[in-house]
Symmetry: C2
Subunit: 344 residues, 2 copies
């Protein structure tokens, strides 16, 4: 299996993508990596690491440009045709790679993937499906920020795709799907929320109603759907608050020798919570709905997180996630087309 | 100063409002309380507590109805005219009380206050201004959920009101105002966000641009504005995650005797963080923009939180918050009316 890795994406590139790729190559013998980016820089960085025995599974695809954080995602597809993101997606489009992994510009990745790979049959909008730690395991939030202004119909697509992905990757029975909202009763929220609620009730999923932020970490649902604006606000708030609480705790624990001794005795508990809330282990957010496997890693991904993003890509390919999504969307289309027939 | 207290509001009523009121009466000798609600129940509950020396500052106003959580806020104003919330607001409207405090139905409180008290001159929509703990002190989020579908112009009003409230209550120089968004650069977010950004740049406030959830707790701004849907999602997420992290930590700390000993030694640190993130101390969220002082307490408020909500009402009255808001809105109107003149 060949995975196209955007070697120039993320805050610590090309180092972290390269070190993460080496770890993945060691851990997953069926994976080959195409490093997409400034070939000279990539070769130089790779040369600084031990890659003995892995060379046969490493190739290069030169790309002269990089999408910068200040660039407009959509425009970058047109203006930076030779960017590492665009070229990596081209490889998937042309069948030269099975999946793409990038820690680069989210908007550029979403735009390039949607334009070049197109969406799957029956899907109009792709959505970022983010695994988030909860009381008991993880839940999946979709959309994490691919589409800030979707229609309620798109949200139904997110629900179906999220259910398929969750069941395939995490397992368990049929995933419960909740709508992120500001009240638990039906009829709460904006007009958009109300329309989503109605459509979700009729969709081929296990819809359990509205879910509020204060109950969400008790995992009342395996899949939580929302528009990409709300989802992105949610994700960044969670990330910011978790980091802040731990940094406040660290400061407090250093206030006296007793506290420091206590912290040392209890260090296993802190490590365990830190691991649980770390995004590294869940590294790799699938852009669900595009016709190709496309995994977004966090911009500040560690090598470990990038290794796990490559693992996520590998799993998605192995499980034929996209075939499953197309299959799961069928009942919705049959219903819609029979409706159209009746109406016609 | 007379404060109308909704004795029937919140998850633990009438106990918590009554115990909180007794604490407030003890701590603030200039405060009198009108208990609004089922007079018999209120008298009975009050009888179970020591109120010696406070009787002269306690009065009752009977209300036969209670707005339940399942009720529609707006409809409740019409359908439950004799609710404790509506009656408490009537007292402010008729000049029989200086402020109202309620831990009851948020939607009902917002609707009743807006309809009965009307908005201040120059303000079209009221907003809930919520103080949230940050790295260094607190910041104010407005709107926390009073209006889920405001216009960008309303958000400018939130910014001005939030600045006035923050400076009056917390102090410091001119408050920095940020727009809650999904990217820091100008031009990020929905069309609504972009319009807010433009208007905020021209407003008589210290606008510092977009603010993302992951940086917000480092307090890049004293005031953060957004629509009430996004604000409510943000607040509930913060509340849910903070609670979850502490409950996960508690479970982990009980996993071994060493960890338990460590937790005991470091208990001061946990207490300090818990106090810092507790909503009790910031109990009392002002509904800014209505023509009267109106403080919302959290539905699950402890007596301490209700005591602090009464304190917040007292401070708002003492500082003539509404006069200050009207004053601060003036430059905006002068600008608008001169524009209208030019355009005409």
């Amino acid at each position: 299996m060949k995975i196209a890795l955007d070697a120039m994406g993320g805050d610590f590139s090309p180092q972290n993508p390269i070190v993460g790729a080496i770890q993945a190559l060691r851990d997953f013998p069926d994976v080959s990596i195409v490093f997409v980016g400034d070939e000279e820089r990539v070769r130089k960085e790779l040369g600084a690491h031990e890659t003995k025995g892995l060379e046969s599974r490493i190739t290069y695809h030169h790309a002269s440009q990089v999408v910068e954080m200040g660039d407009n995602g959509l425009e970058s597809v047109r203006k930076k045709k030779d960017s590492s993101i665009s070229r990596a997606i081209d490889l998937v489009k042309n069948g030269e790679a099975d999946a793409v992994v990038s820690a680069g510009h989210t908007g550029a990745l979403v735009a390039a993937a949607t334009i070049k790979l197109r969406t799957l049959p029956g899907i109009d909008r792709a959505g970022l499906g983010v695994l988030i730690p909860a009381q008991d395991g993880v839940f999946l939030l979709i959309d994490g920020g691919a589409n800030i202004d979707p229609s309620p119909k798109h949200v139904v697509g997110f629900a179906v795709m999220g259910s398929v992905y969750y069941q395939s990757i995490v397992g368990g029975g049929e995933a419960r799907v909740g709508l992120l909202n500001i009240g638990s009763e039906p009829g709460k929220g904006t007009e958009f929320c109300k329309e989503c609620y109605e459509l979700l009730q009729e969709a081929p999923i296990r819809f359990v109603g509205n879910i509020e932020g204060h109950g969400i970490f008790k995992k009342p649902a395996e899949v939580v759907v929302c528009d990409g604006f709300t989802g992105n606000i949610f994700l960044k708030t969670v990330e910011g608050l978790a980091k802040s609480i731990f940094s406040w705790l660290k400061i407090e624990l250093k206030q006296s020798p007793w506290r420091m001794a206590g912290a040392w005795l209890a260090r296993g508990a802190f490590r365990s919570i830190k691991n649980r809330t770390s995004t590294d282990e869940y590294g790799g957010t699938p852009l669900l709905g595009v016709n190709g496997i496309c995994i977004k890693a966090h911009g500040n991904s560690s090598p470990r997180a990038l290794r796990n993003a490559i693992r996520a890509a590998r799993t998605a390919v192995q499980l034929s996630i996209n075939t499953r999504i197309v299959e799961a969307m069928k009942p919705l289309h049959e219903k819609n087309s029979s409706r159209n027939t009746i109406e016609a």
